[in-house]
């Protein structure tokens, strides 16, 4: 018989997850707080109170699961992207490029002005470009959203994630590995990795619908087939050190545009998606330690504000010309707030390449914590103000 402490030791993770889930349900019902924000907060508390006593092998397993969960969300995001829209309304693309670029410049400038070295400031600025698809999609689905803010936030998020992943790899390539002082060469190798990831995703996007049609799955739900394919794809990208983010996103986009078969996959991948999202948001927050958060708190807070300000300003500036009111522009900018999961997973992947960025990116922990808890809340409020949430309205 194991004694009590060893029993607790073994059950710590599942118990903590269960508590986080229960807290998520209760607080969502009482206060309307997005569930994922509660999972994040729970993960942060657990990570700081207990995870330090747990063997690291557990954490690696959860990391993988978190990546799979994130892959599912990216696939779903890709599946809800219409590339043709970028052509019929070029202002969406203009908004996206301006928004990403301005965020990078502003965050970089403020970080350097506050005394950060230029390499970590660049990495931080690259991460700040992105809107985490995980935080965004979970809130959109939780609230049953539909409308222009919803639609634009999804498209802008997928674009700025690709841009952020590219910029981040580029800066890592130049600055950290010093493989070559040549910018063009670093850009090229970064492009190759992203291109290969996209190619893998695209191949899946062609093959899976074909296979589904072969086995005459047209009338049935294709959720499981896509979930398994995403798992496989994310693992392949993981093993080959490609970008799982881009691979899963491309998979979704290509599957959607080659609409050969596709009976509707369930939003969120149903219960499977729900389960993995508890894991994902909980786990990601356990990687943040209180000391790191405290150390970078003020700069982190400042950068979060700068980032939000730039995104809101750009989205508002292009609102009318792109076909919506300025008010909806402001709300679109606010809806782009979440970023934690994407940033943390990206830097975790980089850690696997042998670079630990948390040491150099002091304010990142604070930013991630703030945005993991506050980000979904801001997105949710923005969508409620835009009258695009269904569930809240018809209580």
């Amino acid at each position: 018989m194991a004694d009590l402490s060893s029993l607790l030791y073994q059950l710590a993770w599942p118990l903590a997850l269960t508590l986080a889930w229960m807290a998520g349900e209760v607080l969502f019902r009482w206060t309307g707080l997005p569930r994922i924000a509660v999972y994040g907060l729970g993960g942060f508390l657990f990570g700081n109170l207990a995870a330090g006593y747990l063997p690291p092998s557990e954490a690696a397993a959860f990391m993988l699961l978190a990546n799979l969960g994130f892959g599912l969300m990216l696939f779903e995001l890709g599946y809800r992207i219409n590339l043709r829209w970028l052509r019929t309304n070029p202002w969406i693309l203009v908004t996206s490029l301006t928004e990403s670029l301005c965020t990078f410049v502003a965050v970089y400038a403020v970080a350097v002005a506050c005394g950060m070295a230029s390499l970590p400031a660049g990495l931080l600025a690259a991460l700040a470009m992105s809107t985490s698809p995980a935080g965004l999609l979970r809130v959109l689905n939780e609230q049953g959203c539909a409308g222009q803010v919803t639609e634009r936030a999804m498209h802008l998020s997928s674009l700025n994630c690709v841009l952020a992943a590219f910029t981040f790899k580029l800066i890592v390539g130049i600055g950290v590995f010093q493989t070559s002082g040549d910018l063009a060469h670093a850009a090229w190798s970064s492009l190759v990795v992203l291109g290969a990831s996209a190619a893998f995703g695209a191949a899946f996007g062609v093959a899976v619908p074909l296979w589904l049609r072969r086995i005459d799955n047209a009338a049935r739900d294709s959720t499981l087939a896509f979930a398994i394919a995403v798992f496989l794809l994310v693992m392949i990208a993981h093993v080959l050190l490609f970008s799982p983010v881009l691979a899963a996103l491309t998979f979704g986009i290509v599957a959607r545009h080659r609409r050969l078969v596709l009976s509707p996959a369930q939003r969120n991948f149903g219960v499977l998606g729900d389960l993995l999202s508890v894991l994902l948001f909980f786990f990601v927050a356990t990687t943040l330690s209180w000391n790191q958060v405290a150390a970078g708190l003020w700069l982190g807070l400042l950068l979060v504000l700068v980032r939000a300000l730039v995104k809101v300003a750009v989205c508002t500036g292009f609102a009318r010309v792109s076909g919506i009111t300025a008010r909806k522009g402001v709300l679109t900018g606010l809806a782009l707030t979440p970023m934690a999961v994407f940033a943390i997973l990206l830097q975790e992947q980089t850690r696997r390449l042998g670079v630990d960025l948390f040491q150099s990116l002091e304010p990142l922990a604070a930013i991630a914590l703030l945005l993991e808890v506050v980000g979904p809340l801001v997105t949710q409020r923005a969508l409620l103000l835009a009258h695009e949430a269904r569930n809240a309205k018809e209580k």
Binding site: Y79, R80, I81, N82, R84, W85, T88, N89, G144, A146, G147, Q148, E151, M154, H155, R213, A218, R256, R259, L260, V261, L262, S263, P264, S322, G323, I324, T325, K328, H387, E388, R390, K393, E394
Partner: protein, 375 residues
């Protein structure tokens, strides 16, 4: 409130109302886009008129009053282009079809206007499964008596319009085997069906409307969901059985078919309508909904069994001189061709065969609404 007097309008003028689907171009599901669409459309003058409907994934447009096919079609084309331009900027597709093939009714959001909220509270799930899309055609009448005469004389032709416009074979993701499943949703409402058999406006007002109003069930003509109802404030009768067709060409053709039919009926060469005509009414209506052009109907006066397709072809032949007089030969030609090439319901079933998915149906409907000058 007593019924308002019947406004006189010029005989045989016509106008069209269309309920159109708003579909996300990302996932082809219905999308609550009408507030954003209305905001964008409000920035420039709109040909005709546009109004919000009960659910946010629907947009209703109406034409001006017309007498000729060419004018009506030209305006509908303009309206269509205007909607498509706005939709393209918002990633919203606009299309016809009486139902959306895979939307789940529980997902729909009710437009936040007090009247809509009342309707939703009263009818519960009926209000939401009423996310169906129809075409209404108004025909101008010179008096209330003329309106009631036309309304009841048209009873035997109602199945024609159901079969010719049918475009709602799919509901909630599966084939209903009906050609117009939409009308089954309409039929669930307590005040649907047909108007009472009264041929004089005074009698209608005194013996029916005033008495219904005193029961407290209705307040205005709006509360009746009849297949064909008089609209005293416009001085028209309003045909409400048509599904929204997939093209504006068919919209205009159906309106002009009705116009020519009314011109024919006003010559009063056919036997006058009788109350007993309605004995076969619901049966014929069902045949048209279920089997479309392949249905068989029973003639209300001779009790002959007729193929619906044959009956339409015979009618088209009879209407030729009227179409010539009204300048709507092209419309009759369109109807004639449809009886051979098949209805929109058939088109949607073919699209499902080809694509193998419900999204493929919506994709085909979107492309068809967009296509210019197609029959």
């Amino acid at each position: 409130v007593p019924l308002e007097p019947f406004a006189t309008s010029r005989s045989l003028t016509m106008g069209v109302e269309l309920e159109l689907q708003l579909v996300s171009l990302s996932d082809f599901d219905l999308v609550s886009a009408s507030p954003d669409m209305l905001e964008l459309l409000g920035r420039a003058p709109f040909p005709g008129n546009v109004t919000p409907e009960i659910t946010q994934s629907m947009i209703e447009i109406n034409s001006s009053v017309h007498t000729s096919h060419a004018e009506l079609l030209a305006e509908l084309n303009e309206i269509r282009d205007c909607l498509l331009r706005a939709g393209d900027r918002l990633n919203v597709g606009v299309c016809g079809g009486g139902t959306h093939p895979f939307q789940q009714w529980s997902q729909r959001k009710i437009f936040s206007k007090p009247r809509f909220r009342e309707v939703s509270a009263l009818y519960g799930y009926l209000a939401k499964q009423f996310t169906v899309f129809g075409q209404h055609v108004h025909i101008g009448c010179s008096s209330g008596d003329e309106a009631l005469f036309l309304l009841h004389s048209l009873n035997r032709y109602i199945p024609h319009f159901i079969a010719l416009s049918a475009s709602s074979p799919f509901l909630q993701g599966s084939d209903t085997l009906f050609n117009s499943a939409r009308l089954n949703s309409v039929f669930a409402f307590p005040l649907s069906g047909r108007a009472p058999f009264l041929l004089e406006w005074e009698a209608f007002e005194r013996d029916y409307f005033a008495r219904m109003e005193s029961t407290g069930i209705v307040r205005s003509m709006k509360d009746f969901y009849w297949d064909l109802r008089p609209k005293p404030e416009y001085g028209t009768i309003e045909l409400r059985v048509c599904d929204t067709p997939l093209t504006v060409e068919r919209v205009a053709a159906l309106a002009c078919y009705l116009q020519a039919l009314c011109r024919h009926l006003l010559e009063r060469r056919e036997a006058s309508p009788r109350e007993d005509d309605y004995l076969v009414y619901n049966y014929n209506r069902f045949q048209a909904c279920r089997f479309g052009l392949d249905g068989t109907i029973v003639h209300p006066q001779s009790h002959e069994t007729l193929s619906l397709r044959e009956d339409i072809l015979t009618t088209v032949r009879h209407l030729e001189p009227h179409a010539q007089a009204l300048g709507s030969e092209a419309a009759l030609e369109h109807i004639y061709r449809e009886t051979h090439s098949g209805s929109d319901a058939q088109f949607l079933r073919n699209a499902f065969e080809r694509a193998g998915s419900a999204e493929g149906i919506v994709d085909a409907a979107l492309a068809r609404f967009r296509a210019k000058g197609e029959a």
